[in-house]
Assembly symmetry: D2
Homo-oligomer: 325 residues x 4
Amino acid sequence: MKEGYIGILTSGGDASGMNATIRAITRSAICNGYKVKGIYRGYEGLINDEIRELTTEDVSNIIQRGGTILKTARSKDFETAEGREKAYEVMQKEKIHTLFIIGGDGSLTGARIFAQEYDVPCIGLPGTIDNDLWGTDLTIGYDTALNTIVECVDKIRDTATSHERIFFVEVMGRDAGFLAQNSAIASGAEAAIIPEDQTDTDQLEEFIKRGFRKTKNSSIVIVTESPTGKGANYYAERVKKEYPQYDVRVTILGHLQRGGSPSAGDRILASRLGCAAIQAMMEGQRNVMIGIRNDKVVYVPFAEAIKKNKPIDKSLITVLNELSI
Amino acid sequence: MKEGYIGILTSGGDASGMNATIRAITRSAICNGYKVKGIYRGYEGLINDEIRELTTEDVSNIIQRGGTILKTARSKDFETAEGREKAYEVMQKEKIHTLFIIGGDGSLTGARIFAQEYDVPCIGLPGTIDNDLWGTDLTIGYDTALNTIVECVDKIRDTATSHERIFFVEVMGRDAGFLAQNSAIASGAEAAIIPEDQTDTDQLEEFIKRGFRKTKNSSIVIVTESPTGKGANYYAERVKKEYPQYDVRVTILGHLQRGGSPSAGDRILASRLGCAAIQAMMEGQRNVMIGIRNDKVVYVPFAEAIKKNKPIDKSLITVLNELSI
Amino acid sequence: MKEGYIGILTSGGDASGMNATIRAITRSAICNGYKVKGIYRGYEGLINDEIRELTTEDVSNIIQRGGTILKTARSKDFETAEGREKAYEVMQKEKIHTLFIIGGDGSLTGARIFAQEYDVPCIGLPGTIDNDLWGTDLTIGYDTALNTIVECVDKIRDTATSHERIFFVEVMGRDAGFLAQNSAIASGAEAAIIPEDQTDTDQLEEFIKRGFRKTKNSSIVIVTESPTGKGANYYAERVKKEYPQYDVRVTILGHLQRGGSPSAGDRILASRLGCAAIQAMMEGQRNVMIGIRNDKVVYVPFAEAIKKNKPIDKSLITVLNELSI
Amino acid sequence: MKEGYIGILTSGGDASGMNATIRAITRSAICNGYKVKGIYRGYEGLINDEIRELTTEDVSNIIQRGGTILKTARSKDFETAEGREKAYEVMQKEKIHTLFIIGGDGSLTGARIFAQEYDVPCIGLPGTIDNDLWGTDLTIGYDTALNTIVECVDKIRDTATSHERIFFVEVMGRDAGFLAQNSAIASGAEAAIIPEDQTDTDQLEEFIKRGFRKTKNSSIVIVTESPTGKGANYYAERVKKEYPQYDVRVTILGHLQRGGSPSAGDRILASRLGCAAIQAMMEGQRNVMIGIRNDKVVYVPFAEAIKKNKPIDKSLITVLNELSI
């Protein structure tokens, strides 16, 4: 067994597949002669020393579970210099030589700052349902969330069709439209309203005009949640006001998008990236996110991964438009 | 083949298992020598003569589908004497001698009035997710909705546990707490707020006080939707105001509770009641709802079924309290 | 806190909902002032003293999990007088005053003999997917298994319909046809072959003759597993031999029927019976199985519960025949 | 509207997502000014002229359904020169100018021969759960089958863990190990036996030796079906004979792997490839399979696609070995 420990934490919004990632990092580490410590409640737990060793049995039978056995939190303290100093001291005390962070954009930003200030090798794993990290084709949790949304919209369509209604269904994604765009295609929705497309409003107009001329007897529009308030309710109100003859309903899927047993795709992705993260450490990599591109593992420097301008494939908009005729 | 047709319609809010019911009535009728017509869009379609014959093939491969192939609607016209007269004339013209109505409280009320005014044998089948019809232990759609809610709450608990939050989850039920009470037990929620219990508010107080002394690190409260505005948002706001230290979230499950492939239980119930409805007709029954009580088919006069005071089993409240310690 | 402990074990074939039962017994016991010990691996673990205390946290977050956290086994030793004596001594040593057994027919038979030999209060809970215990309308695990089978047959029907084939699907049930009969109705299968009906063979003949005259382009027959070898393969071979023109396939669902997250119905049943079991103990009941009849909790003496002649509702055969036309 | 029709058929083993593909081709064609005919029962239906026009409504509400609304079959007649001549004549008569074939290896082989003999533009779409077509990273139906297997193994693990058993689970794949290898990783199985690895037997030896030294109390081995009889039963018998102390069980998942509602991934893939197929036709492409490589649409000549030596990623074997410690 090698000296010291690797440390694993999950941070930010939880995503299904985080447990599969924890399992993969832990087992791959142990398999390669490292000892492992789990850090509870993200950076907050690192600062507060909520840490205990993880064995291969501790991660048994968790690959299929949603959430994260290590808990997660957003840490205000870690945004301060004092917090990060404390975190560094705890790492020394706990003999943690390398930190593995499973999380999204904010979590990797924290890791990047930490690694710049202290000589601490950090390795990130993309755990977010939003799929908005640059440099990786997929993030852990995205495929599960997509499937959950599609199953929900399938149910909503049963009732939409039975009643001949227009439904606006709001999904997560923050400032990224991957979930909305792809769930709209997969659920056979009539339109998607996504932040990447600045002409949202006109799209709605156009959808409404096209839609109302159509023989279709029900419509579903998927809307990305919006920090500025232009979510599903906003569009529903507009339609109700301008077209009072239509029966309009709203469903906001909310937090159920984060949980649930991970899909096969997310479990395989988590397993591959977890093993690759240990491999990266052994190769001396640091301050990189482990990603997947063209089905190959890649190392993405933190600075690039968090640029956040991962583009959506515009050809998918055409697919959606053609198929919702 | 006998003279004339039986007519089937679905009315009111859709419920999973309505298609299984349509299939059962249709096939049992044909099996016993009757011809069948499907009436589209509920009473509205009866008035507007949106009717066509159903064969045994027309109901093939629908037992597993949510929604209703006959569509459903709420009909303002059928609430008027003119509307009902029109409906009666259409029935004569279409040679429909007996009407089978699949729906809830409002739909059966409509049938009752119609049957009082015209000499039309009506037979009702309890199709509603709310389980609020008197005289039947179960309604078609209830078991599926319950399972859907429980699956959603399982997902929400993954994220609630990971983040140590209080979630208020709003479910359907109108003025009946069956869905909330039973989904709370089945999902391991900490409390249910139901309309049958006039001390809701105090229950919340008590839950909060008990809950905050507990070692539990997350809580889920199931709340019945409320026409008077005391739904999940109301309780969440109260907790946020009085206990600002807690991270409170709301999820309103909405229409996805109605759809989806019916559970085994709902399919069997629908099949049994559908066959029993044809049997009832052959026995000369009229103006009754076909229900199930103690696992036996029963005939419930419309007047009784719509009394709407079906009691909730209070012993279940004790079960929930004991198990959420 | 009261003196001593109650002991809980799961025995025989596992059933989904066993964990929900363990949780309910444990929490209801603690809520009423009792301490709880979990016995691992059924009677075998009782003999070998594989026992540890259970707290309310130990049963957190297990209501939704298949299998049993206490493991289960079939015990040869407990069938011997020496084994039972050893078991009794361990109970004394561990200060277990009442034994709660979750299991099926064989497990309750063991409990009955044990309780006759030693002055040990035993309370049984019906945990078996087969639904074959007399005196209770439902057993824990049955509803989940039924739903699992129906979901599988839904998938098989997709491919059966696409290919125009006859499928024989074998399900569990030992000498009881509840799963086969009810899953056949719920999945829209064409026939069920069940042990309760001595005329199986002729039924198949009749089905084949009827079936081949029909316009249906695919058929699914549900067959109960058979200790005497007349399972799905037997019937498939017969059809292949006598009607070589047909494309016949077999699927044996096997052990996946036992596992999976329990249905809402099974979780509620488990919760109610678990609480009722503690209530029964407090009332001084012993050597009874806690059952449900007409939606009310009942106490069934072991001797009655294991008579094993619980009848299947013959009216369901008519339902299946009418609906598979 | 353009002259003539495009024709669509599904052929070979059905795969979930075929309906989504039919929908996408149909709607994209109509959207681009083409008329569409559906050919029933694959090449057999082409020969027998079982053909009718498809409108955009005909493919409504099928994106979520397993199986294929066009049915599928394996055609002996199409393997003969006479059969193909007949097929060509029917195409002329039905004014079908381009043929779209959704299927696997055998179906594309048929298309290739047909296109060599007659001047008929053929465009293939990879529809098979086996993922064994060269030139495309994914085939339609593979992701759904993978998820179905993983859900089944999750259930089996519940009972495996409860009983401390070794399970051999047999999955489809013919001569390709994609399903076995990836489902083993995703379900946390202990080993996979795949045809690509000539050292199967030794792997089992090694697994058994490693496995039996381990502290693990249950094991699941995923085995690819084998035309030569070395499937799950073969391995189970070997273990039973050599290690009689172990409780060994077998589950053969069978045809339920083909059906079920397609996953989000398969629906998106089907939608993209369907639209791309019409695009390819408009660009004058012929006798190519539409595939996806590195998330981009590619055209793969039939001759390449059916070479059948698509390699499995050997790094995944390492992932499985590390994670099953």
